[in-house]
C-alpha cells in the first residue's frame, strides 16, 4: 500500500506539472494584448512598459515559464495586477467558498443517490424501481444552470425559503446560503450516482457470496447494508473523485448565478481581464484539487479493495 501511495502521488505531481504548463502556454496563446486589456484605454506607453517588465512579458515564453515555476517553488504565485495583492492570498481567500459548496453538493447528492440506487436495486423491475429510474435520468438530464434559475425563482423569489445571493454569515447563515447552489450542482449527481449504485448492486447481489449469506439465513437488510452496498459503492468513490472536475467547472456558473465568491468566479474575471498571475494561481489550485481528489479516490479504492492495488 505504501509503494502504491508513493506511486500514485508521484503520478499526481506529474499530472499537475503537465496541466499547469499547458494552461500557462494556452493563456498566452489567447489573442489580445494583455497589457492593453489590463490597463485600459488611458494607459501611457510608460505604464505599459512598466507592467510588461513587472510581468516578465518581454521575456521568451520558456523563460516566463521558468520564472513562474521558480516562484512556485518559493510559494510565490505572483501579484494581482489590479489590486497589488498576493495571488496566494486572493486564491486561498476564495477557495473555502468553492470547497464548502462542492462538499455539500457531494454529501447530499451521494447520500440521496446511494439510497435511491440501493433501494431501486433491492426492488428490481418494480414500480418503485421504474420511478427511481425515471427520476434519476431526469436529474441527470436537467442542465444545472436551468435548475439553478428555477430554484432561484421558486425557492428564493416565490416561496422566499432560501436566500438568492451571497454567502451569509455564521455557520447557519452560510449553510442557509449554500442550500440552493449545492442543490443546483448536486441534482444531476443524484441521478448519476443512483444509476451507478443500482447497476453495481445488482451485479453484486448476483454473486456467490451473497447467495451463501442468504443460505446462512442472514437477514436481507444486513446483506444489503453490510455486504452488498460496501462492494457496490466502490465505483461511486472513483466517480466522486473524478467528479470533482465536473463540480469545479459547475462552480463557475453557480457562483455567477448565485453571486457567490469563489474560485470559479475568480477565474472567469481574471481570464476576461487577462490577469495572468491570478489565472495561473486559480488554475494551479483547482487542478491541484482535482488531482488530489482523484488520487484520494484511488487510494480509498485500493484500501477498500486490495485487488485495485495489484492492478495499478
Amino acid at each position: 500500500m505504501f509503494i502504491y501511495t508513493v506511486k500514485r502521488f508521484a503520478l499526481a505531481g506529474l499530472i499537475l506539472i503537465v496541466a499547469v504548463t499547458a494552461m500557462f502556454l494556452m493563456i498566452r496563446a489567447v489573442p489580445g494584448d494583455p497589457v492593453s486589456i489590463m490597463l485600459g484605454p488611458r494607459a501611457t506607453p510608460e505604464l505599459k512598459a512598466s507592467l510588461i517588465e513587472q510581468m516578465a512579458l518581454d521575456q521568451p515564453i520558456w523563460k516566463q515559464l521558468l520564472i513562474y515555476y521558480g516562484g512556485l517553488l518559493r510559494g510565490d504565485l505572483g501579484i494581482d495586477v489590479f489590486s497589488g495583492r498576493s495571488v496566494v492570498d486572493i486564491v486561498f481567500q476564495q477557495l473555502p467558498y468553492t470547497l464548502e459548496m462542492i462538499a455539500l453538493s457531494v454529501v447530499w447528492s451521494a447520500a440521496l443517490g446511494i439510497a435511491l440506487g440501493a433501494y431501486a436495486a433491492a426492488h428490481p423491475n418494480t414500480i418503485i424501481d421504474r420511478v427511481a429510474a425515471a427520476v434519476s435520468v431526469s436529474f441527470v438530464a436537467a442542465p444545472a444552470f436551468v435548475v439553478a434559475l428555477l430554484a432561484l425563482l421558486i425557492f428564493a423569489v416565490q416561496l422566499q425559503w432560501f436566500p438568492a445571493i451571497g454567502v451569509g454569515e455564521g455557520f447557519w447563515g452560510r449553510l442557509n446560503h449554500l442550500v440552493l447552489p449545492s442543490f443546483a450542482i448536486g441534482l444531476s449527481w443524484v441521478g448519476y450516482i443512483a444509476r451507478l449504485v443500482r447497476a453495481s448492486m445488482l451485479e453484486v447481489l448476483g454473486e456467490g457470496h451473497i447467495r451463501t449469506a442468504r443460505a446462512f439465513g442472514i437477514s436481507e437488510r444486513r446483506i444489503i447494508m453490510s455486504y452488498a452496498l460496501r462492494i457496490a459503492i466502490l465505483p461511486v468513490v472513483t466517480v466522486i473523485g473524478v467528479g470533482m472536475g465536473f463540480l469545479l467547472s459547475s462552480a463557475v456558473f453557480t457562483e455567477i448565478v448565485f453571486a457567490r465568491p469563489g474560485i470559479g468566479k475568480l477565474v472567469i474575471d481574471s481570464i476576461t481581464t487577462r490577469n495572468y498571475p491570478v489565472v495561473m494561481g486559480t488554475v494551479l489550485v483547482s487542478t491541484g484539487l482535482f488531482v488530489l481528489s482523484t488520487a484520494i479516490a484511488d487510494l480509498l479504492n485500493a484500501l477498500l479493495d486490495p485487488r485495485a492495488r495489484s492492478t495499478k
Binding site: V30, P34, I165
Partner: protein, 520 residues
C-alpha cells in the same frame, strides 16, 4: 428480494427526538425565518457591477472603486444628484476660477481624517492632486488631471490650483470624479506612498467597515463626520456580474437598488415588486458602427455612405435594446456640452438613397466582415445590420470575438466593419479623445484622420466659453459623420430599480452617488 425499510427503528422515543430536532431546526436562522428585508435596520443593500480593487484613487480602476472612494473620501466638489449635470461643494467651502489657469479654493474646517491623521488641510489637497500627475505614482488616471501644473498652498486651508493652460474638464471630471478624491498626506506617506486594498485614513460620511473580495463591501456611518448626516447606518455593496441574478435578488427582497437589464424594462414599467420604482436614465455610453478607412475595400466614400444610409437604427433599437433606448446623433450624449440635436443622417434607413449611393460608387459584389463582441446585444445588432445591408446587395460576414481579442482590434489591419461601444465620463473631451490622428490604430479603429478634428479636440478642451465649446464639439461630430466612417446607433440607457424605502441619489447617467442616498 424485499427490504423492509419501514421497519427502521422509529419508536415513540425516536419520533419525539426527531420532532424535537426538527422543531429546533425551524427556529434556527435557516429559510424564511432567517430572512431579513434588505433595508431593515438602517442597512442599504446595493448592487455594483464589479468588485473594488484598491482604496487608492491614484490607481482607481473606475466606477467600482469610485463608488466607494466617493463615500469615504471627500473632494473639493462632488457631482450633484439629479437629472442635469452639475456640481456642488463638498470639502471646499469656496472655490472660484480666478483666471483661466488659476482656481482658488478654501476648505471647510470641520473635516478630519481617521486614525489620528488630523484635520484636512490644503497640504492634503496639494499632495493628493500632485501625486496623481507625478511620474513615480504611475497613475493610469493621470490624463484626467489634464494640464495641472501644481497646487499653491496659501494658508492652512486655502490654496490655488495652477494649470499650465485652461482646462474645461477640470470642473466636470478632474475635481468631481476619481482624481478629485483627497487623501491624507501623512497617512499615505506613512504607508510608503501607496494605498493598497485597505484605506489608510478616511474622511467622508461613511467609513469602509469591511471588504470581502467578490462578496461585499460594507460602509458604515463615520461617527466623526460633521457634515449633513448620511441617511443609512450601513451600506452593503454587493458585486453582482449578472443582471438577471441582480433582478432576482431584488425581487426576493435581498437588494434595495440595482441596475436592471434593458430587456426587463417593459416588465418593470408595468410593476416593480415590493412597492419599488423604476428610474430610466440615459447613459453616456456610445455605440456605433465603424468602418476602417485604411482597408482597401472601404476606400470608396459613396460605398461608406451607402452603408450609413442602409442601416436602420430603429430596428436595431427595437430588436437588440427592446425599445428601451433612444437613437444617438453622435458620440456625445444628451445633457452634455456639444450634444447634437440631430445628425445629417436620420436614424431610419433610407434604402432608396443607399441603393443610389451604392450605384454611384460603382462597387459590385461587395462583401465585408463585421467584428463584434460576444454579447447578445451586439450579435443581435450585427444580424440586423447584416440583414439590412443584404437589402442593398452588400454581403456581411459576422465575426463574433471574445473580449480580449475584440479589444485588441486596433492591431487588426484586416478589420473592415466593427460594432463598437465606448464608455464615457461627463465631459465631451473624453469622447473625442479616441478619434484623433494620434489614436489611429490604437483606439481609433476607423483610422479616421482629420486635421480639423484634431484641432477642434485640442482647442475645445481649453475653451472656457461654453457656447463656443459646444459648437466645436458639434462640428467635430459633423466631421466624423461626413467621413462616412461612422453610423451612430445609441447611447443606451441605465434603468435602475429601487425598493420603496430608498431615495436613490444618481448622476444624470444613472450611476450611484451612495453618500447621498436617502430614506423615504
Amino acid at each position: 428480494m424485499k427490504l423492509e425499510w419501514t421497519k427502521a427503528p422509529m419508536g415513540r422515543r425516536n419520533f419525539l427526538k426527531t420532532a424535537t430536532a426538527l422543531g429546533a431546526a425551524a427556529t434556527l436562522p435557516m429559510g424564511l425565518a432567517g430572512r431579513a428585508m434588505a433595508s431593515e435596520g438602517g442597512t442599504l443593500r446595493v448592487r455594483s457591477y464589479g468588485d473594488m480593487s484598491t482604496m487608492d484613487p491614484a490607481h482607481s480602476n473606475g466606477v467600482f472603486d469610485e463608488e466607494i472612494h466617493a463615500s469615504v473620501y471627500n473632494k473639493l466638489i462632488q457631482y450633484k444628484p439629479g437629472s442635469e449635470w452639475g456640481w456642488q461643494l463638498d470639502a471646499a467651502s469656496m472655490i472660484e476660477q480666478a483666471d483661466p489657469t488659476h482656481i482658488n479654493f478654501a476648505l471647510r474646517d470641520d473635516i478630519g481624517f481617521t486614525n489620528g491623521h488630523g484635520a484636512m488641510t490644503a497640504e492634503d489637497v496639494k499632495f493628493s492632486f500632485e501625486r496623481i500627475i507625478a511620474d513615480d505614482t504611475e497613475s493610469p488616471n493621470k490624463p484626467d488631471m489634464g494640464p495641472l501644473s501644481h497646487i499653491e498652498v496659501t494658508g492652512e486651508r486655502e490654496g490655488t490650483i495652477v494649470l499650465n493652460e485652461p482646462f474645461a474638464p477640470l470642473w466636470s471630471i478632474a475635481l468631481p470624479y476619481i482624481t478629485g478624491n483627497i487623501v491624507s498626506k501623512t497617512a499615505t506617506e506613512a504607508a510608503g506612498g501607496r494605498i493598497g486594498a485597505d484605506p489608510v485614513a478616511e474622511s467622508g460620511p461613511y467609513l469602509r467597515a469591511s471588504w470581502n473580495p467578490k462578496e461585499k463591501t460594507v460602509l458604515t456611518r463615520n461617527p466623526d463626520w460633521q457634515g449633513d448626516a448620511p441617511a443609512w447606518d450601513n451600506i452593503e455593496i454587493l458585486p453582482i456580474d449578472d443582471e438577471n441574478t441582480a433582478e432576482i435578488a431584488f425581487e426576493a427582497g435581498e437588494l434595495d437598488f440595482t441596475r436592471v437589464s434593458l430587456g426587463s424594462v417593459e416588465r418593470y414599467r408595468a410593476d416593480v415588486p415590493n412597492g419599488g420604482a423604476l428610474i430610466e436614465n440615459p447613459s453616456l455610453f456610445y455605440v456605433w458602427l465603424g468602418m476602417n478607412l485604411d482597408h482597401p475595400k472601404l476606400q470608396n466614400i459613396k460605398l461608406r455612405q451607402a452603408i450609413q444610409h442602409a442601416i436602420d437604427v430603429p430596428s436595431i433599437l427595437e430588436a437588440a435594446y427592446f425599445g428601451a433606448v433612444e437613437p444617438s446623433t453622435g458620440i456625445i450624449a444628451p445633457g452634455l456640452i456639444g450634444h447634437r440635436d440631430a445628425g445629417s443622417i436620420a436614424p431610419a434607413a433610407d434604402f432608396a438613397r443607399a441603393a443610389e449611393l451604392l450605384a454611384e460608387s460603382g462597387e459590385t459584389n461587395v462583401s465585408l466582415t463585421l467584428d463584434v463582441l460576444n454579447k447578445t446585444t451586439f450579435t443581435t445588432t450585427a444580424q440586423i445590420i447584416q440583414a439590412t445591408l443584404a437589402g442593398i446587395g452588400i454581403t456581411v460576414e459576422i465575426n463574433v470575438l471574445e473580449s480580449g481579442a475584440f479589444w485588441d482590434s486596433g492591431n487588426n489591419e484586416n478589420l473592415q466593419l466593427v460594432l463598437n461601444r465606448f464608455s464615457m465620463t461627463p465631459d465631451p473631451t473624453y469622447a473625442t479623445a479616441w478619434f484623433t490622428t494620434e489614436q489611429a490604430g490604437i483606439w481609433n479603429w476607423e483610422n479616421f484622420r482629420n486635421a480639423e478634428f484634431d484641432q477642434l479636440h485640442a482647442e475645445a478642451a481649453r475653451e472656457t466659453d461654453l457656447e463656443k465649446r459646444a459648437e466645436m464639439y458639434v462640428r467635430a461630430q459633423d466631421l466624423m459623420e461626413e467621413s462616412g466612417a461612422y453610423r451612430f446607433i445609441t447611447h443606451e440607457a441605465t434603468p435602475v430599480v429601487h425598493s420603496s424605502g430608498v431615495v436613490p441619489a444618481l448622476r444624470p447617467d444613472g450611476l450611484t452617488l451612495l453618500r447621498y442616498f436617502g430614506k423615504s
